[in-house]
Symmetry: C2
Subunit: 444 residues, 2 copies
């Protein structure tokens, strides 16, 4: 079988466009609704998507006056969705800066057991002082420090997931031996950030580890991805930038001694689908009209670390913005926005329209065939192994994509018509992690 596309649905309430909740017929309470999430997950599963995904930050992220700001905790919401689905992967974002490895490793192992091997973890270091201030800190740790902690967090987590051998449990009623104790090991980790004795109190799960996913695109983020990630979400506004990023991640993975095919690159796209190209463009424009500019300007100013007064709606960005090096927050996002505005000579108003729609991701507006053509073009030209689908409006955007774009790609032999495996890693064509204690001979 030829190389196959992979699709993830990025779950996001009423849609990724920040004004989507204001459309007639939207459910403005979808962010807190189990039923709304169950529906989205089932539509994606019926379309044979690899996975669904929830972003997250442990902070009230946006102004609750302006858009739905409440977010159910992702690992719990996905545990509920595990019961409502049977095959699709379930990827939760969680922060290495504001969790303890024992607790988080345990939650992902539990989700993997509950879902029969469908858990994934989008690993984030969480930018922003506001989050730090929910956890006893005055300011966020330095960008570099956050990544150092993330690296040790992964060392601890993988040791914990390896603390039970796959065949530790024997459950022999007659002898009264439930597990072979010698195959359950303390990890006795002691490092710069963590000291954790272990073993984990959850036996090795169907996938061994949750699928490890990463989305930071700074130099630190790419280095981390090359070392740890099996799937990478990324925001790339053009084909050329997607190709550059794709090649860079594969090269870095190879340099780290890994098989580049074992890092799946998934750019985010915002498909806006119309019966005609004109209809698609009209939907796009309607959404942009619903953005409240004063809030969008404040958000942009925060990301760029400038005084909002200096951003004029009908003028370009100021020339003297802080550089990426001066920012301890989401570095790569700042650079993406600035480069985009300068390259396309955008005014602040035009820029916030584009950011409101896809937050820097590529918008594909067109007919189903046009959207399928673009996806295929990226896939066959070194820009993507698949896509992180971010419909501007939900549930209609994924219903249209599933109903009208997926069948075209299936007919072209580029996307599965049935699931072949049962675990999330099997969907993405990735190997199950071997048990390191066994591999290292310690338990021979």
């Amino acid at each position: 079988m030829s190389r196959q596309l992979h699709f993830n649905l990025f779950l996001h309430d009423t849609g990724h466009h920040e004004a989507s909740w204001r459309l007639p017929g939207s459910d403005p309470h979808a962010n807190l609704s189990l039923a709304a999430h169950q529906h989205l997950a089932r539509v994606a599963e019926d379309a044979k998507f690899d996975s669904v995904f929830l972003a997250d930050s442990p902070v009230l992220w946006s102004d609750p006056g302006r858009r739905p700001a409440g977010k159910l905790e992702p690992t719990l919401l996905l545990a509920a969705l595990a019961v409502s689905t049977s095959r699709i992967g379930l990827i939760a974002t969680a922060s290495t800066s504001y969790n303890e490895p024992f607790n988080l490793a345990r939650r992902f192992a539990s989700l993997d057991h509950l879902s029969g091997g469908r858990a994934g973890w989008n690993i984030v270091t969480t930018a922003g002082d506001a989050a730090a201030r929910n956890f006893g800190l005055q300011d966020q740790p330095l960008h570099r420090t956050r990544y150092e902690r993330a690296d040790e967090f992964l060392q601890v987590s993988t040791k914990l997931w390896d603390s039970w051998a796959d065949d530790a449990i024997v459950a022999d009623r007659t002898s009264g031996v439930h597990a072979r104790s010698e195959l359950v090991r303390a990890i006795n980790h002691s490092g710069e950030f963590f000291r954790v004795d272990g073993a984990l109190n959850v036996p090795r799960s169907p996938q061994a580890y949750p699928l490890l996913v990463q989305a930071g695109s700074s130099a630190d983020g790419r280095g981390f991805a090359a070392k740890w990630a099996e799937a990478v979400f990324t925001a790339q506004p053009t084909l050329a930038e997607s190709q550059e990023f794709y090649a860079d991640i594969k090269r870095r993975a190879a340099e780290a001694g890994r098989d580049p095919d074992h890092v799946v690159v998934l750019p985010g796209i915002v498909p806006v689908i119309g019966a005609t190209a004109a209809e698609a463009r009209e939907l796009d424009a309607e959404l942009d009209r619903l953005i409240a500019p004063q809030y969008a300007v404040a958000t942009l100013a925060h990301t760029l670390r400038v005084d909002p007064e200096r951003l004029r709606l009908d003028e370009p960005l100021p020339d003297d913005l802080p550089s990426e090096d001066e920012i301890e927050g989401a570095k790569s996002r700042r650079t993406l926005i600035v480069d985009w505005a300068r390259r396309d000579h955008l005014t602040v108003r035009q820029l916030i329209g584009k950011l409101g729609g896809g937050r820097g991701h590529r918008t594909f507006a067109g007919t189903p065939v046009q959207v399928a053509d673009t996806i295929q073009h990226y896939f066959e030209n070194g820009a993507a192994d698949g896509f992180n689908i971010m419909p501007a409006v939900l549930p209609s955007g994924i219903e249209k994509f599933a109903g009208e774009v997926v069948p075209i790609l299936q007919e072209r032999g580029l996307f599965r018509t049935e699931y072949r495996g049962t675990t999330l890693r099997e969907h993405y064509g990735l190997p199950r992690p071997a048990h390191r204690f066994v591999r290292e001979g310690a338990l021979a």
Copy 2:
């Protein structure tokens, strides 16, 4: 309607007897099985139980060689069970010593949204050095310090649950106002253990707070319960001790300025049900024969902080045991065990038989009518508002209790035949917490 009994099912794999997994027909993998937990929750819900409950500790608690030691993380498991049930309450244990308030308050608010108002939190401080060593510490914090942290943890958590007013969300599409920002407040907590700015990123949930449950019976534990708990689980081996505990908790709650009826006291009982009293006793004895004494002695020695060599199976406990004051672990449990052994003149072998069956809880062995009679006697004589049901063997123990004991109590008018409310607090007859910002007039 006359005063009504309340029942909680304490979920525990193959049963509360430590040898239950060795019985023919048991599922020795039940501890990791969603289906096994779904079945138990549904049996309890069909019997109109108030709630199900999961104990927990963030550590590999028992020797995995001896019995099923893996435990799925409770908030995730209950999020899954929220989908599989519709009315029964869902109580998860979580530690105030090894969590951050923002993360845990958010998980319980999320569980309450996902379940439509059925979340409960059994608040524990987590005894033992082994748990501490999974979180960067060498030894557990002092007993008193753990309770001080727990108290501040509850202050922070309740502030976070009050950080959104009940009517904050307006979701007005036309004006683009999703929430009234002035009804979403930072909490700006700064105390001895925690600094948390807030607001929570989950709006106020159906029950406002999860039902607050507590189970420690030391002086510190009782003081904490009187201040915070709405339901109390307790291990009391005799009627007289249950009566003393019941009166003490109600008195302490009144002294703390609370309505004593708003603290529901639920002693744990281990019902062993037979068609005849002789059959019930035989089941009890069969289980005890399956206990492996060398492991049970090691556990007992650990709890009492003595050298295992000093415990002889056919002799009484040594006289010179460490006192409760010398123990920083589970103080009340140590005292319960020592008092019981001395009062009933038990040998070590007899003691571990009784502990293996119910871990210090009262075993009611008998016919369905005998078990119902004892429950009624406790209920009507100031010893209990209901019971935490801990079957020695699962699922058979809860199936028998639901099928044979519950109907007798329903016929006697002591237990509901239908749910009347939809939330966990409504099942227990408790009021929904008022919004403190509103009550204090700050948002008038």
